[in-house]
Amino acid sequence: MIWIIAWKNIWRNKVRSLVIILAITLGLFGGVFSSAVMKGMVEQRIKEAVSRETAHIQIHNPKYIDNNEVQYTIDGEAQNLEQTLDSLPEVKGWSSRIKFQAMANSANAGTGVMIYGVDPEKERQVTEISAMICDSCGTYLNGEKKNQIVVGEALAEKLKVRLRSKIVLTFQDQEGTLTGAAFRICGIYRTSNSVFDEMNVFVRKTDIASLLIMNAQEYQELVVRLSEPDQVTDVQEELTDGFPELLVRNWKEIDPMIGMMADLTAVWLYMFMAIILLALGFGIINTMLMTILERTRELGMLAAIGMNKHRIFLMIMLESVYLSLTGAIVGMALGYFLTLYTSYTGINLSSFAEGFEKIGYNPIMYPYLDLNFFITLTIMVICIGILASIYPARKALKLNPAEAVRSE
């Protein structure tokens, strides 16, 4: 019965209750949608980083990571490793890469780049670079022609080259001798991360192996793509156990910035919501204090006829929780629907896009939130409702029934 009385009580002063409910609604609506935008941005960035840059897992000769020199390859275990990967059901695709640093020069300019010597068919199964080439920007490493190269748009601009231009790559072979070759640009890709685009170029593995004096079976890097992102730790563990001489790293370890971002966002969003709720909590306290002040005589009467302190406390606490929850549910629902809608349409930020792309963000963002967020948020709202009722309820319990009943 107390549950019903509490619910009816919050509608006694409709205007006052609606004011605080509206404040909570707006606070949560704004909070939920901002969280969805932030979370969407981060998720998208992570997805893009994984599908274009890091893949889920990378395997190296540990010395290569320390020294970055071409002679530190995976060779002895290569065949065994490839067979293991082929047998793992979680693995969607893998690609072995020859990876090394070089100077790229055009007629106009020069810059340092990272060269990836890949098997195009295998690479397609792991990274989406091949899909990042627009219709008029050429193709990925197709066809039979030798010495083709795929470069990023930012690099092409820097070197002032176009499709089918030639660039010269200069690098040291495995024996330390300076060598080089001319490559023709067959495709220009563009991801949302222009720093990545400026740095990384793709060539056919077979073209580059001989120049480096490497045998065809060895390579510096093997990247793995999984069907489900949450299988990363399991597969990583399995590979680490199977190949203790190799360094097996997941995407969070490969790109610690992205990894940290993923972990921090979760915490940050809850902190963000907690701050909003805390602010609203003071509003609830104020509203509850007013209702209690108004109902001094009634509360005194209730205590007089035998309603004990627990029940009075429960009633006031429920009123506070109802107020918070009513506003919160409406606010969360509005936030949810706006998130749902914009997750289909996307939010176009291209007017600020240049800045965004420099830091690796896609100019069209898709807000996103998971069910867990709403569940946790609901629990947080209930907690705030309870916390906000403690001070007003204590005031109510201090009332002496004789005094309360007497006061005119």
Partner: protein, 230 residues
């Protein structure tokens, strides 16, 4: 046997500069089935005395025994429970929970006592009928007249099956017709069901209905007489 026994009761308010002896040495006892009025000028200590008997306030000195229990010795938690199960209250105003109907107001006290829904239902209807409100079960207090509200309060006070009912100026806000109506109902309940009523009043017409009149002045009982029924 006495259901209430008051010995040398004193209540002194110290919060102002001069101590106020609101109740200043009262010895009284009440039997089951009494219909007693406490009268006296304003400020004589009627409300204070009733609040002490009802366990709403703590005596400064002396003792109150209800069915042998010294209520001054009960912890505040036990005292609330004691009030719930042993004492019915009717106040001058603000008796009812405004968001509940007459029916729910009466039912509420039984739900506090933990009675199940069926028991609550039959008793609530029966009590509201006995105070003449059988047709107003679903009215909220703001749709009831002052007299009707006080009758709901009497029904609510009876609902918990208390040992006695305390009413502090129950008719002070009522017109004369409602006053006599309420008094008639209280008298009938007293006569037919042996319910004990102790009430304070300023109103001579109410005093005339009482079968015992206790006069207080300056916190002391100055006369206490039984009236022979005519």
């Amino acid at each position: 046997m006495n259901i209430i026994e008051i010995k040398d009761l004193k209540k002194i308010y110290n919060d102002s500069e001069v101590a106020v002896h609101a109740v200043n040495g009262v010895d009284l006892s009440f039997k089951q089935g009494e219909f007693a009025a406490i009268v006296g000028p304003s400020g004589s200590g009627k409300t204070t005395l009733l609040n002490l008997i009802g366990g709403l306030d703590v005596p400064s000195e002396g003792s109150i025994r209800i069915d042998g229990v010294n209520i001054g010795e009960l912890s505040s938690r036990k005292l609330i429970n004691f009030r719930l199960n042993n004492i019915g209250f009717v106040f001058q105003s603000y008796n009812l929970i405004p968001v509940l109907t007459a029916y729910e107001n009466v039912e509420f006290i039984m739900s506090l006592q933990g009675y199940d829904k069926d028991k609550r239902h039959s008793r609530t209807v029966e009590l509201l009928k006995s105070v003449g409100l059988g047709d107003r079960l679903n009215s909220r207090p703001n749709k009831l007249s002052g007299g009707e509200q006080q009758r709901v309060a009497v029904a609510r006070a009876l609902a918990s099956k208390p040992k006695f009912i305390l009413a502090d100026e129950p008719t002070a806000n009522l017109d004369s017709k409602s006053t006599s109506n309420l008094l008639d109902i209280m008298e009938k309940l007293n006569r037919e069901e042996n319910i004990t009523f102790i009430f304070s009043t300023h109103d001579q017409r109410v005093v005339n209905k009482a079968r015992r009149v206790i006069q207080v002045e300056d916190g002391k009982v100055i006369s206490d007489e039984a009236i022979q029924s005519p």
